[in-house]
């Protein structure tokens, strides 16, 4: 019960925060994006003029926050979606509850899922960019984005060769649905990015995230500890992190003072900026290592 209560309260409170904005201007097409990945790519392609509303988790780029939101993508309400009078709803299949999607179909509101599935690897990310580029008639820009991505990733790969060690990295995330700290595992998208950045995820697993516990921390004993934005800001500083989270203070990361803040939306999906993000991660996790 606790979990559902927190979940529902969190969802409704979050909705309350971001429903204040009014939409502006006249739109011929009225697009709603329910995927943060799609939202970022739309802006990167420069195709955002018809975007009228997004879901709560679409937080990049910063200008997207001026758009009204329709709710948390897993706890949508039909009225919330219908209120923005969409002509097309874009989603990646990771939406709920099921009956809302069914009701939208009954209302004959067009919905689209891009064919390129939700892969968390570079190939499908580039494919998605191309597909969306075709859809929005921004093929040229799509090509540019992919070339930049390739270039950045190549640079990252070269840099990775130069470092002798592969630091063990642990990424801690605050799960707002369950009000607990979680740690990302090697199976997550972030895990991949760490790999590209020349590091190694200290926590192995099959699920993308596991609950943070002293056993998990002790077994991982990371060299570098990263916290995503919300979770880090809750605690405030590396000292608070060391004291509040169980078992952290005895890790190599804590002793070496290597606790850093990262943005969640940089880590959880592969997109046009992933190359830049990987380079940034690389810098972060190798800082303090002996120079080649």
């Amino acid at each position: 019960m606790n979990r559902t209560l927190s979940f529902a309260l969190a969802a409704t409170l979050l909705c309350g925060c971001r429903f204040a904005n009014q939409e502006q201007g006249e739109h011929k097409e009225r697009l709603v994006s329910l995927s943060k990945q799609y939202s970022e790519i739309i802006y990167a392609l420069g195709a955002q003029q018809d975007l009228v509303a997004v879901d709560l988790s679409s937080t990049y780029p910063p200008e997207i926050r001026s758009l009204p939101t329709v709710g948390y993508h897993r706890a949508l309400s039909v009225e919330g979606l219908v209120a923005v009078k969409p002509t097309l709803i874009l989603h990646d299949g990771n939406v709920g509850p099921e009956h809302v999607m069914r009701q939208l179909e009954q209302l004959k509101i067009p919905m689209k899922v891009f064919e390129t599935g939700g892969g968390d690897d570079l190939a499908s990310a580039k494919q998605l960019v191309l597909e969306m580029g075709r859809f929005f008639h921004k093929e040229a820009r799509a090509g540019e984005l992919n070339r930049k991505l390739d270039a950045d990733m190549a640079k990252a790969a070269r840099e990775a060769q130069t470092w002798k060690k592969k630091p063990g990295v642990m990424i801690v995330h605050f799960g707002r649905a369950m009000n607990v700290y979680l740690t990302m595992t090697s199976a997550s998208t972030a895990g991949r990015m760490i790999g590209w950045a020349g590091g190694e995820m200290a926590v192995r697993g099959e699920r993308g995230m596991v609950q943070l516990s002293p056993e998990v921390v002790a077994q991982a004993d990371p060299d570098v500890l990263l916290l995503t934005d919300f979770g880090y800001d809750r605690l405030g500083s590396p000292e608070m992190v060391k004291t509040s989270l169980p078992g952290i203070s005895t890790t190599r990361a804590a002793r070496g003072g290597r606790i850093y803040r990262v943005e969640e939306h940089d880590l959880v999906y592969v997109g046009p900026r992933t190359g830049e993000n990987v380079l940034e991660l690389q810098r972060l996790i190798h800082a303090g290592d002996a120079a080649p």
Binding site: M1, R3, T4, A8, G16, E79, G80, K85
Partner: protein
């Protein structure tokens, strides 16, 4: 010597409730992110018969979303309130209701089990599978409460005992739901957590069809036992002395309660306190005759839930508050007040 039959003291309440219900239901249909006027409602309904392809968005919202939801709210409210009347009559206790005694959480558990296992077993037997699974879960939980109450010996009539047993059974089945949500694959898990606090947003015409059957059959059947429940108010021994087959009546009434609440819960999740608030208010208003409580209860329950649904949709517009939060926010303080009043009088 002829005696003039006294005028029924319960007269007038039922028609008043019926009128209030119709007014509220219409009002509720008009509310939402997009207000719907009477003209649009009328045109939507006439077009539904003649030209179903030609409906515009507002008309479609009315026919596919608002109308089934309003009707489902009425039926669920009636079912829950009636469940409360039945359980209170059975336990001879005004402080019990399906939410407190585990029927709702058992039903939620049954439904959640169906969500999780049904997908795994690829089993699907049409519209009725989910409600049936919920009823089985509700029956299991209610049976637990009854059995534990029986073994409580001389204390079994005590409010405290019954409520404590209800808390224990509730906790058991709710943790079962939590466990299922935890192990479930993603789409099912989302459904379970979303609907755990009660919501009418999933109402569809199919749900309305099932609910219409169970609510009307449940009410008609319950009315046949109104007198028996009246007699039961005197005590089991006294009821027996009046010719009531107590064991049989208990079984049938519990079965009706489980079906009513189980089916409702399978569509909406757990909505608590309606079965507590409504009979209490009705008794305060006019008294405890069960025919009055059943019919009045069904109507008043529909009214209460319609009001709660309006609140749920409007307070954080256009987001939706889970309706279970609204009913609990009102019902819990009332429950506490009831407990205090009772303590002063009896214990």
């Amino acid at each position: 010597m002829p005696v003039t039959r006294p005028r029924s003291p319960y007269g007038g309440v039922v028609p008043a409730l019926a009128v209030a219900l119709v007014v509220l239901a219409v009002f509720s249909v008009r509310l939402g992110a997009i207000p719907i006027g009477f003209g649009e409602m009328a045109s939507a309904m006439s077009k539904a018969w003649s030209a179903p392809g030609g409906l515009d968005l507002t008309e479609r919202i009315f026919l596919e979303i608002r109308l089934p939801r309003a009707i489902a709210t009425v039926l669920v409210g009636a079912s829950l309130a009636l469940g409360g009347v039945l359980l209170q009559g059975l336990f001879r206790n005004p402080i019990v209701e399906p939410g407190l005694l585990g029927t709702s959480s058992g039903a939620a558990f049954g439904a959640a089990l169906y969500f999780v296992l049904g997908a795994a077993l690829k089993f699907h037997a049409g519209e009725w599978t989910l409600p049936v699974a919920a009823c089985l879960g509700g029956a299991l939980a209610t049976a637990c409460v009854f059995l534990l109450a029986e073994t409580a010996g001389s204390h079994r009539e005590s409010t405290t005992t019954v409520l404590l047993i209800g808390i224990a059974v509730n906790a058991l089945f709710l943790s079962g739901v939590g466990l299922l949500a935890y192990v479930a694959r993603d789409p099912q898990a989302r459904s379970i957590t979303f609907w755990g606090l009660g919501t009418l947003s999933g109402a569809s015409w199919r749900a309305v069809a099932v609910l219409a059957v169970t609510t009307s059959v449940g009410l008609l059947l319950a009315l046949r036992y109104a007198r028996h429940l009246n007699a039961l108010m005197l005590g089991e021994s006294e009821a027996l002395g009046l010719g009531v087959d107590v064991a049989r009546v208990k079984l049938i009434v519990v079965a009706i309660d489980v079906v009513l609440v189980g089916v409702a819960t399978s569509f909406t999740g757990i909505i608590a306190f309606v079965g507590l608030i409504v009979p209490h208010l009705l008794r305060l208003l006019k008294g405890s005759d069960h025919r009055y409580l059943m019919v009045g209860g069904a109507l008043a329950g529909a009214i209460v839930l319609t009001l709660a649904d309006v609140a749920a949709r409007v307070l954080l517009r256009p987001a939706e508050l889970p309706i279970g939060i609204v009913t609990s926010a009102v019902g819990a303080p009332l429950f506490v007040a009831l407990l205090r009043g009772r303590r002063e009088r009896f214990e």
